[in-house]
């Protein structure tokens, strides 16, 4: 088990957002977390990735208690994350964005002795990543000028740039057209080959095509966990959630 949360509860100024959430994710699994808006999915992500510590409960990553550990520490242990609201370096070019990720991965943090432009290995690796996410043409475009789909692709690439063993994707296909979604799902599948993924999603097609296991969150509690088939068949889930979502 690569990630386990035990009895995670959290509230914001008295408003209970998560109640006794017990999530367990196996290594190599693609685990989707679904639920209506306000179910607490992003809060759960924030708790897992150290944005804030849960009011109660513990988070275990690779059998280590990482509850409340700051993002930097978790990243170094092997976690990565993408954000619901695209979180790239908007004024930097796609190339510079990707390069930032590579510098992070290679641990080149305080180097003041070489011009970064002449570091050929870094540049070549950045070009390679751009190729993989189909952003070579937009290499010199500032991130904020990228089309929505490409911008999200950059976001996911940044999340993966530290080569995390576990990556959390927060609504990666939000706001995408049919085609963009297809491209994104394909990209996710390629980039996360061999890694563990926890993905929050609203698009049921994406969920059912990507996920090995699904957890359904409702009002901050786990309603059900299981394989896609089990979840589809679960009456409680259908009543609470799937019935509302246009299939």
């Amino acid at each position: 088990m690569i990630l386990e949360t035990r009895d995670i509860s959290h509230d914001f100024d008295g408003l209970r957002v998560l109640s006794c959430v017990n999530l367990s994710v196996q290594r190599g699994e693609r685990h989707a977390v679904i639920g209506p808006n306000g179910a607490g999915k992003t809060t759960l992500f924030n708790v897992i990735t150290g944005t804030y510590a849960p009011r109660s409960g513990r988070v275990f990553f690779k059998d280590q208690d990482v509850t409340g550990a700051p993002p930097q520490a978790l990243v170094r242990l092997g976690m990565g994350r993408s954000f619901q609201i695209t979180s790239t370096f908007s004024r930097l070019t796609a190339f510079q964005n990707v390069r930032m990720g590579i510098l992070g991965r290679r641990g080149i943090r305080f180097n003041v002795f070489r011009k970064v432009d002449v570091m050929r290995e870094v540049t070549e690796e950045a070009e390679e990543v751009l190729r993989r996410i189909n952003l070579t043409a937009e290499r010199n475009l500032p991130a904020r000028l990228l089309s929505y789909g490409k911008h999200r692709a950059l976001e996911i690439s940044l999340a993966m740039s530290t080569e995390p063993e576990l990556v959390l994707l927060d609504e990666p296909t939000a706001g995408m057209s049919r085609d963009e979604t297809r491209t994104a799902v394909d990209l996710i599948r390629r980039l996360t080959e061999g890694r563990t993924v926890i993905i929050v999603e609203h698009d049921m097609d994406v969920v059912f095509s990507l996920a090995d296991r699904i957890t359904v969150l409702h009002h901050g509690e786990i309603l059900a966990t299981g394989s896609p088939r089990e979840i589809k068949a679960n009456q409680a889930v259908r009543d609470a959630y799937l019935g509302e979502v246009a299939d």
């Binding site: 990735t49 700051p70 993002p71 930097q72 990243v75 170094r76 990565g80 994350r81 979180s87 790239t88 370096f89 908007s90 004024r91 930097l92 070019t93 510079q96 390069r99 930032m100 990720g101 510098l103 992070g104 991965r105 641990g107 080149i108 943090r109 305080f110 180097n111 003041v112 002795f113 070489r114 011009k115 970064v116 432009d117 570091m119 870094v122 010199n140 475009l141 500032p142 000028l145 940044l158 999340a159 740039s161 530290t162």
Partner: protein
């Protein structure tokens, strides 16, 4: 002719002009240039925090002043201290101050950062005014011995001669600016810019944000200290005025005029500011009034400063001659 060749020629010409300057323009303008150089470095060190890391400091004068007082005090109390060590002591004073403040300062950003710096700088100013025994109060510390620039057996240059001091100052300030420029081109420089745009993402890429901010902070303070140190040597005087809040607003104004988004903006701003001050002071004592007006106009109509106007003009020219596709200047 290739661009590189052009650049070499341009650079050599500039260097020649720099070397010949004192002989071409005389003492008064030589001193004006040294003043410009001091404030150019001061503004560049300030912009390291603002333009590159996204932190606006309203108290940068405290590092400038620390450098000045450090050097002045060292030369007053150590009678046979050579020139370079005196300079270094000033820098060490500035860095020490930054080190003291960094645990608090790296945890804040935005308005809080700006205001805390205003407060601490004011505290330094008040201390400098009140601790007369140490700092000479309002009158400051002056008349200390200015050691010659000496490499034993090789050179012994008297620093009281304006031309000699000019070369010394140009070398020190020029080297400092070069070092800072180089740093912005390194991987560390990339992380700095990353911090400006998206500190959250920087943390999630595995960088240590507080430590990186601290490193930039110390760098910025240290070089402001160099500027302050050279200032003390140049004036043979340092007083509480160096710590006054107006001296904290000066690099802000220079950077905004020149352009916050470019490395050379502050240098340009220092030049323009110096020019305006020179011209205005011939007609009125109220130089700060003009500065205030310029600041307002720049913020409202040209927030990217002079460099911003240049870049915009370039972009328009480029768009006119290269139709099709979105052309945006990558940083």
């Amino acid at each position: 002719m290739t661009p590189t060749a052009l650049r070499w020629i341009g650079g050599s010409l500039a260097l020649a002009a720099l070397l010949a300057y004192p002989y071409l323009f005389g003492i008064y303008f030589t001193n004006v240039f040294v003043t410009f150089g001091i404030f150019a470095l001061y503004a560049v060190s300030f912009n390291l925090l603002l333009g590159f890391t996204g932190l606006l400091s309203f108290g940068h004068a405290m590092f400038f002043g620390a450098g000045g007082y450090g050097t002045a005090l060292a030369l007053t109390h150590f009678k046979s201290l050579p020139l370079l060590p005196a300079l270094v002591i000033g820098v060490v004073a500035a860095v020490a101050l930054a080190l003291l403040l960094s645990p608090l300062m790296v945890r804040v950003s935005g308005t809080a950062f700006s205001m805390l710096h205003l407060a601490f700088a004011q505290l330094m100013y008040v201390l400098a005014l009140k601790l007369r025994a140490v700092t000479g109060g309002e009158d400051g510390i002056g008349g200390f011995r200015i050691p010659p620039f000496r490499i034993p057996g090789l050179v012994n240059v008297d620093m009281k001669d304006p031309s000699s001091f000019y070369y010394f100052a140009a070398a020190v300030l020029g080297l400092s600016v070069f070092v800072l420029w180089f740093v912005t081109k390194t991987p560390f420089g990339s992380v700095m810019v990353g911090l400006r745009d998206n500190p959250n993402r920087v943390a999630y890429l595995g960088f240590r944000v507080p430590q990186t901010k601290a490193a930039v902070y110390l760098l910025s303070a240290g070089f402001a200290g160099v500027a302050g140190s050279v200032y003390a040597l140049f004036q043979n005087l340092v007083s509480a005025d160096a710590l006054h809040v107006l001296n904290s607003f000066t690099p802000v104004t220079m950077t905004m005029i020149g352009g916050v988004g470019s490395f050379f903006g502050p240098i340009l701003g220092a030049a323009i500011f110096g020019l305006i001050s020179e011209l205005t002071s011939r007609y009125t004592e109220r130089v700060e009034l003009v500065v205030g007006l310029i600041l307002i106009i720049v913020i409202m109509y040209a927030p990217q400063g002079f460099m911003g106007l240049v870049n915009a003009a370039r972009a328009r020219a480029r768009a006119r001659f290269a139709p099709g596709g979105a052309t945006e200047l990558a940083r």
